[in-house]
């Protein structure tokens, strides 16, 4: 992904606004943009959801096939997550093989889902060692206006919770994919010395550092990822975790319904 040039005036304006507790779009520092979730958006997929976080627009599809388990996990289904930053979504996205940004995005979303055991993979075994359900999660970014980590993660959770296991493929009934946990990822961006949550595109482009924290329904931490060239102090990390837990509860309700 080639980077976009941000003018120094813009940079200074955003940093100053944030330092005084305001943001260009009028949000508070710990205020998340409007989130809308539309489940079952694509009827060719076993599960899907289109999620808009502000103007960031993400479509996640879940395809479910029958496959062979990995030899070291003969009683477990298989979960694979990929992300595509398609050129339609931003002038900075290029076609071609997945960029490091796309790979990191897919792996961070995958980790949140996997480590929380959102889907109990042992329930996806059909015949041990031979036949299991294979879940392909494909994250399609349609419009990039900042904070792909959270939008993609909400989309993935919503798509999984709407998915049906195609039992008819093995002569059984279709049944809902069992979703047991609801990890919610919340991303913070550090603009010089100020931390804002759910960064918009301009904030993200000038951010010094980024921290994503996924917490579960008990408020426990399930996954974290720090990014960009800046740093966080330990106290800042703790502050981000605290806010991620608090914001997570409200967001979980929206993704869940």
């Amino acid at each position: 992904m080639s980077s976009e040039v941000v003018s120094e005036l813009m940079r200074e304006a955003i940093v100053k606004l944030a330092a005084s507790g305001r943001r260009a779009d009028g949000r508070a520092r710990d205020e998340v943009r409007h989130l809308s979730v539309e489940k079952n958006y694509v009827n060719t997929a076993e599960g899907s959801a289109r999620v808009k976080l502000g103007d960031t627009d993400v479509l996640v599809g879940v395809k479910i096939n029958i496959g062979v388990p990995y030899p070291d996990t003969p009683n477990s289904g298989v979960l694979t997550t990929s992300a595509e930053l398609i050129p339609m979504a931003s002038p900075t996205f290029e076609s071609g093989p997945p960029s490091p940004t796309a790979i990191e995005l897919a792996r961070v979303v995958d980790r949140g889902i996997r480590e929380t055991k959102t889907v109990d993979m042992e329930k996806l075994c059909i015949v041990p060692k031979e036949k299991v359900w294979v879940l392909f999660i494909d994250i399609h970014i349609l419009d990039y206006d900042g904070n792909l980590f959270d939008a993609a993660s909400y989309g993935t959770l919503a798509a999984l919770s709407s998915a049906k296991l195609p039992g008819s493929k093995i002569g059984a009934e279709d049944r809902p994919l069992p979703v047991d946990h609801w990890p919610i990822s919340v991303t913070a961006a550090k603009l010089r010395d100020t931390i804002v949550f759910d960064p918009g595109l301009d904030e993200e482009r000038i951010a010094d550092a980024r921290l994503t924290v996924a917490t579960d329904e008990n408020g426990d931490i399930r996954a974290m990822q720090k990014g960009l060239r800046g740093s966080f102090s330990f106290d800042e990390v703790r502050q981000v975790i605290g806010t991620a837990r608090r914001l997570g509860n409200g967001i979980r309700e929206i993704v869940r319904q």
Binding site: S2, D72, T73, P74, N75, S76, P100, T101, I103, E104, A106, R107, R111, R114, E115, T116, M121, E122, L211, D216, G219, D220, I221, R222, A223, M224, Q225, K226, G227, L228, R229, G230, S231, F232, S233, F234, V237, R238, I241, G242, R245
Partner: protein, 255 residues
């Protein structure tokens, strides 16, 4: 990784005396040995042994950035390539970058960008290569620790060395520096890299399950260990560059 079926699940990671499978206490590091300046061609290099990990790090640059369209007119790029040798793990790893190593390369590049004075070398690239020769959990931490020494060995201006270590949770207890079994069967792993003098966190990843309090305790273990690791990094550089009375007597140009 925690649902490997054919290995008995009752494996006991911490015994009744608080000792781990390899005999360590919960707050103990595996043995670490660092050597600076081990390769001829690179501008800087370092080798680290960390428990069963054997990792080489090398630095080239600042040199012309490739591909050229990545060049930044305001600063140098720090481009890291983390790579595992195919024979470094028990099941042969297919050569070349996989998704895991692409992600690690990215976060490690970002971590070093926080300390290198990149503004001093616009349009160039500082290339950091991390080669894992033998792996036993914690390779990215070992790689970062060695690469930091290699950057110093290359004379790249930096605010400070960064050192790296992981902590996590095994058998329900917070523990430092997980080994392979603990990584596979433990409850959480949280690698981190920190600027030694200031405590700034430049790399932080976590997967597994930690309460807020457990995270606090894990980070404190890591931060304490990182101070010790930083001392080993400095020692390695001192051994490489110290001038002894004997060198002086022989007329200087030793090493």
């Amino acid at each position: 990784m925690d649902d490997i079926e054919h290995i008995p699940k009752q494996i006991k990671l911490v015994d009744d005396n608080g000792r781990r499978l390899d005999g360590r206490r919960l707050d103990e590091l595996r043995p670490i040995r660092i050597e600076a300046g081990v390769l001829k061609r690179p501008d800087g290099s370092a080798y680290i042994e960390w428990g069963g990990n054997r990792v080489l790090a090398a630095v080239y640059g600042p040199r012309e950035a490739h591909p050229r369209h990545l060049q930044d007119p305001a600063r140098a790029l720090v481009q890291c390539r983390y790579n595992m040798a195919p024979f470094s793990v028990s099941d042969r790893k297919r050569p070349g970058p996989d998704r895991r190593s692409v992600e690690i390369s990215k976060v490690v590049s970002e971590a070093f960008s926080a300390v290198v004075f990149t503004e001093q070398f616009p349009r160039t690239s500082v290339d950091v290569y991390i080669e894992v020769l033998q792996a036993e959990a914690g390779t990215r931490c070992a790689g970062i620790t060695a690469a930091s020494v290699a950057l110093a060995d290359a004379g790249i201006p930096m605010r400070d060395l960064i050192a790296s270590c992981a902590s996590g949770k095994i058998a329900g207890q917070v523990a430092l520096d997980l080994n392979k079994e603990e990584d596979n069967f433990g409850d959480a792993d949280c690698p981190t890299a920190i600027v030694a003098r200031t405590g700034e966190i430049v790399l932080l990843q976590m997967d597994g399950h930690l309460t807020e309090d457990e995270f606090d305790r894990a980070m404190k273990l890591s931060m304490d260990a990182i101070r010790r690791i930083n001392e080993m990094q400095r020692d390695a550089l001192r051994r490489r560059y110290a001038v002894t009375a004997m060198d002086e007597a022989l007329g200087g140009d030793a090493a």
